[in-house]
Amino acid sequence: MSQNLDVDAKPSIEKEESMFVQKKMIADHFDRLANAKESGKKVVYTFVPGNLTELMLSFDTLPVLPEINALQAGMRKMSGEYIAEAERHGHSEDVCTYVKCDIGMMLKGNIGPTGQKIPDPDLLLLSYTGCFTFLKWFELLRDRYPNCPVAMLHVPYQGEGEYTPEMVKYVVEQLKREIIPKFEKVTGTSFNEGALKELLANSALAENDLVWVLEAAKNPVSPIDSYFGGVYYIGPIFTSFRGTPGAVAYYKQLRKEVEARVEAGEGPITPDGPMGEQKFRIVVEGPPNWTSFREFWKMFYDEGAVVVASTYTKVGGVYERGFRHDPEKPLETLAEYCLGCYTNLNLPDRVGMIANYVKEYNADGFLMNSVKSCNSFSSGQLVMLREVEKRTGRAGAFIETDLVDPRYFSASNVKNRLESYFQMLAQKRAAAQAEVMA
């Protein structure tokens, strides 16, 4: 997801109101972070999957998301330098580049995307959801901020394809007895269940609109790109704004714009303007590459390929299956949210989800973008590819890139592979049409 939509980067880009709204939300948030010391607000570092934004906001704290810092650094072409800095400090070339980018950025002053310094954390909220590296990451941050407490929330994995009442209870107990007391201690304020409920009610409203927007891609002409555009759409709800009236307003506005495009039979807006003919409908599994994000996207829309569904837009919450934050059971709902995030699902469930996308979104095929940095996503994707092909009868493609390490994005290789893949889809389609005609 991105909080870095630079709407002014190209004068020819058609700007929609929601883009301005999001940009202002982000700018205001970084202003609040920059002024945290003066305002007395406490700063909490945490992760996107299984984020407890409503709880953080109920304590009036300011979230900072290191993965977002890393991806922003990638989009700003800073990540290569940060990764190199971390590697100079002994971090292996083999490990997650989000971690190294984050560490390198800290070593270089922790300057955020707006040029302002990101304040040191008052609390490290380690929501260990769907990614083992998170655990190591916050151990590393604790080394860097030795006086900062860590609130550790262990979210069990859905190894058997579902979460159980016992898992929910375990997470709730941790919230009650570990997480909330640490917030109370750090902020000096008591837990306010009423405030949390209010935020959760807002979350559900925004989630309804987000689901509507993402499912709009089922239209014969998809009004959105559910991967490259989708990462912007999930920005507010996956990061610091879920539960705020601002997020509710953003998703209302976004929905309005997408509704208008559906009515007009228009496709998504790309960095080069409205997308033309949609020749291929694709489902994508895996995170995007951030260092060459626009170049990567262009490889799709130049070929008339639109992404109609993606799994990456579910890392911060899978809402399409009906889950909504429920203010009537505030802690249980947070637990269920964490347990249900995409990378916390087991591989058979992930395969089922992708296969369903291919069918429900009438996709011509699917693509696995295997990123070197993320074992949580990538390990097993080759098996998933074959399984989805078997279940859907649609051809899959496989490319390798990385999240934020520019050394692992080979544009010519990726482009060659994508072009070949789209050609193959076109040939298959032509052959199928010829068979029908015969």
Binding site: V99, Y128, K136, P348, K372
Partner: protein, 400 residues
């Protein structure tokens, strides 16, 4: 092998037997055990820790599936994993898809890392007829929170084990298994202690073979092997066959999951290193040897898990504890002179841990060096040079 026969083995015979067991990737030991115990099942597990007592008490054979070495050609495994994924899951998949694991009736995948976690899902898809369970040990070590959850996890696994083997085992059976594994861990600890005190008596490669064989042998047999080894090692020393050399005393750190090839351990010895401590096969240490053998067996396993203070890259170091403290303690208790960080390539947990541990060592002035390996590493000369230089530096100047 009958227990009396083990007690009659010479040191050479014992080591030859153990090496043959742990390098047999057709799992003959398991097949033989099943032939001798008709109708009984075998349950595989991956590193780092699983409660083997539950498998044993249900009448099954716990089998450590630790991958392979360079003798196994990987074809199908490589088709399942990208080049940047560690080697262990490739060989495990290869073993499975080539039928070598047909004798294993189920698998436990512990919560070691994302790769092993996802391997549990691959197993479900590739081997739908076999039991495949993800073992999610808690990272919260409060008995009232993590302990309660862990009890649920153990209850479920216990039920699965009983069902798989059609067993009616009771709490008493489980307590008896705990006693056997307590003895196993105590004997392992005695071997480790012997190695730490006199690494020329219990050498690194012998200890490695002995422990790795224990991942495949029935615990009753392994206990006899361990006791016999201790006895023979003393006898060999008394006979003047094992003499101290001017080697550097080192601790191995980072090899807690994917195991190195035996040749690598021997290379370290030849490079002038006495390995006085390691994190190979941590399951031999986990819980310690004092799990209570009275009362509620599952509760005892839960309590011991919560109380166990050993560090591992797969385990969160709770707030208030300092990363590396336990490693530094083990360096002190084994009189080690330095640390060899030996992590498998692409092992996120070990490699992310490494800078933190290195900084902790730097703060207290303990020397260290690092190299990477994979279980099928064949080119050992660069590792020999690095370890040799490190050992020489320690011996010549007292610090690296």
């Amino acid at each position: 092998m009958e227990l009396e026969q083990i007690n009659a083995l010479s040191m050479e015979e014992l080591l030859t037997k153990c090496e043959a067991v742990c390098l047999d990737f057709n799992f003959t030991t398991v097949r033989e055990w099943k032939a001798e115990n008709p109708g009984q099942k075998a349950m595989g597990f991956l590193p780092t820790y699983v409660p083997r007592e539950l498998i044993h008490a249900a009448g099954m054979l716990p089998v450590g599936v630790l991958g392979a070495d360079d003798s196994l050609e990987i074809v199908r495994g490589d088709a399942c994993f990208q080049s940047y994924i560690c080697h262990l899951p490739r060989s495990v998949v290869e073993l499975g898809m080539t039928g070598r694991l047909d004798c294993i009736d189920g698998m436990l995948f512990p919560s070691t890392c994302d790769v092993i976690r996802n391997l549990s899902g691959i197993w479900k898809m590739q081997f739908p007829d076999k039991l495949s369970l993800y073992f999610d040990a808690p990272q919260n070590f409060d008995m009232d929170i993590g302990g309660k959850f862990y009890r649920v996890v153990l209850d479920e696994i216990w039920a699965h084990m009983l069902k798989l083997n059609g067993s009616t085992a009771t709490n008493d059976d489980l307590l008896a298994s705990i006693a056997l594994y307590n003895l196993n861990r105590r004997l392992c600890a005695e071997v480790y202690d012997m190695r730490a005190a006199r690494p020329w008596v219990a050498t690194a490669s012998e200890v490695y073979i002995l422990m790795r064989a224990g991942m495949l042998l029935p615990v009753e047999q392994h206990n006899v092997y361990l006791a016999r080894y201790l006895e023979l090692a003393e006898a060999e020393t008394k006979a003047g066959n094992r003499r101290e050399m001017d080697n550097a005393r080192v601790v191995i750190s980072g090899s807690f999951c994917e195991q190195p090839p035996l040749a690598l351990v021997r290379t370290l010895e030849r490079a002038g290193c006495y390995v006085v401590e390691d994190d190979y096969m941590m399951i031999t240490r986990w819980l310690g040897c004092g799990v209570p053998v009275e009362g509620d067996a599952l509760h005892n396993l839960v309590q011991s898990y919560m109380d166990y203070k050993g560090e591992s890259a797969a385990k969160f170091v709770p707030d208030g504890c300092k990363k590396g403290t336990e490693l530094i303690g083990r360096i002190g208790s084994t009189n080690a002179e330095g640390v060899l960080f030996s992590a498998p390539s692409f092992c996120d947990p070990a490699l992310l841990d490494q800078p933190m541990l290195q900084e902790a060592l730097d703060r207290v002035g303990i020397s260290h060096t690092a190299f990477k390996y994979s279980e099928n590493t064949g080119q050992l000369q660069p590792i020999r040079e690095r370890a040799g230089t490190f050992a020489d530096t320690i011996k010549l100047w007292g610090e690296a």
